[in-house]
Amino acid sequence: MSWEQFIYFAIAAVLLWIVGAWAAWKSKTTVAYVTTALGLLVFLSFIISLWISLERPPLRTMGETRLWYSFFLPLAGIIVYSRWKYKWILSFSTMLALVFICVNLFKPEIHSKTLMPALQSPWFAPHVIVYMFAYAVFGVSTLMAIYLLFKKSPTSTLNAQTSLDNLVYVGLAFMTFGMLFGALWAKEAWGHYWSWDPKETWAAITWFAYLIYIHYRRLPSHKPRLAMWLLIFSFILLQMCWWGINYLPSAQGSSVHTYNMQ
């Protein structure tokens, strides 16, 4: 299995997810579950066969992490749907997943087989996968914040705000796992658990930014709309941590996290 076959799996998965999103709008809950799950299965089977053929976890290049992101978005979507039954959530997650799939189809990056010794660790897969899941959950929560800010009147959205909080808690929990797995791994690989490497600095920034949101929301006198803007702003900081630092002059040549740029 290789990237050449990706398009077939991607089309099949996206079609299934679109049917699922449509079924959610039409309140056909069972159809929505089954088709979204099937789409996830198709997509996951591509990831696993790519993993086997590469003889390493597909987690190194940006293209490979986008692959996981496209997988986790509908997964986060279906989890949110199962808990709070938003009709629109599957459309959103499918659209976002489609964007990342298209980037992978039209801007493929060089996918090499080699994995340098520093990345050969049992920490590698959990560190990145957990982070990608957190990013996907935060992506969904950002879309939800935008939706609430511009589409709905603030009075009818108390429930929506609470579920937004729940999403952020899930995302933050996984982001904490990702960051601390990274710290424990760094101790084994580089001799220190935290070195203020540019990637680590931006990871700390993002983590603190989401901490501001959850603490601000617990303040009785808070402004809900400002809280949603905080979420959007945090997600912008997250982009910097994820891929922005690859283009940031201050991080050039000084980050040990730029494996994907070679």
């Binding site: 808690y169 540019p198 910097m240």
Partner: protein, 288 residues
């Protein structure tokens, strides 16, 4: 919240004055036992601040959301500056945030707030006639407090040395980051350097078969891989580098030796934070 922003702003001003007056933060002066004394004094400050909370309004304020949120905002802003400006270990201002007083003071202030919250949540859990299950965020707060303070204070006691080992020779001298030689309490003999490459010549694996002899005449034969350090007498030995010109024929292997006596405390904090995150995932933001 205005008060919180004012306090943070005041700390930044104070930091700037310190920066001008005494120069960058000298972390090396915190080597044991100074860091132990500083830790004890800081814990005492937290306790006194908590005890005075009913008498002094500032002490009461420090444990509130209105204090925590501005502190986090300042921390984010200063850390963003750190992320945007290239950091240089020789730097003295924004180009070396870790020795920049305003940055350090804001993080210390954050630790002080964390300390207040930890005590309050702890006391709340035990204050009723019978034990109440503590709020799960106590785990996260205490874990972060422990990891942050001990990692920062323990840094001065951490030693990171490089040792160049040659096949068939016993080596006991290592080089400090300052370029001076330090004698180790053990000798390391490189038995064999192992290297495997991919088809394109890039390294797939490099490792050292070594024989360590400690001062107690204990002999340990082991292999050190990247990502698989070995611990001997409190020193973690890492595969660091080799003669890259020679590649698989390299006759030397460069090892890194790391000693970090505060690591168990930092790890306790990290594991508590992890446990706190598990609780956060399960219970979410549910209010009781």
């Amino acid at each position: 919240m205005r008060r919180g922003f004012l306090i943070g702003g005041g700390l930044i001003l104070l930091g700037l004055m310190l920066q001008l007056g005494v120069g960058p933060v000298m972390w090396d002066t915190l080597a044991w036992p100074v860091n132990g004394i500083v830790m004890a004094a800081f814990l005492l400050l937290i306790a006194v601040c908590y005890l005075l909370r009913k008498k002094v309004s500032l002490c009461r304020f420090v444990g509130t959301y209105q204090a925590a949120i501005p502190a986090l905002v300042y921390a984010v802003v200063l850390t963003i500056v750190m992320g945007l400006i290239r950091q240089n270990p020789e730097g003295r201002w924004l180009d070396n945030m870790l020795v920049f007083w305003p940055f350090v003071l804001i993080y210390v202030y954050m630790a002080l707030i964390l300390g207040q919250v930890v005590i309050r949540q702890f006391v709340t859990a035990f204050s009723h006639s019978r034990f109440h299950l503590p709020n799960f965020s106590l785990l996260s707060h205490l874990g972060l407090f422990l990891a942050m303070t001990t990692a920062t204070l323990g840094n001065a006691d951490m030693q990171r040395l490089k040792m160049v080992t040659t096949i068939g020779e016993r080596e006991w001298r290592a080089v400090t980051p300052y370029g001076t030689i330090q004698e180790m309490p053990m000798t390391i003999e490189l038995k064999q350097f192992i290297m495997e490459t991919y088809d394109d010549g890039s390294p797939k694996r490099f490792a050292s078969e070594i024989l360590v002899r400690t001062n107690d005449n204990e002999e340990i034969q082991t292999t050190i891989d990247v990502n698989k350090p070995v611990e001997v007498d409190g020193w973690k030995i890492y595969q660091y580098s080799y003669d890259t010109q020679m590649g698989p024929q390299s006759q030397i292997s460069i090892l890194e030796l790391v000693s970090d006596p505060w690591l168990p405390l930092v790890y306790t904090g990290i594991y508590m934070l992890l446990a706190g995150a598990v609780c956060m995932f399960i219970f979410g933001g549910k209010k009781k």
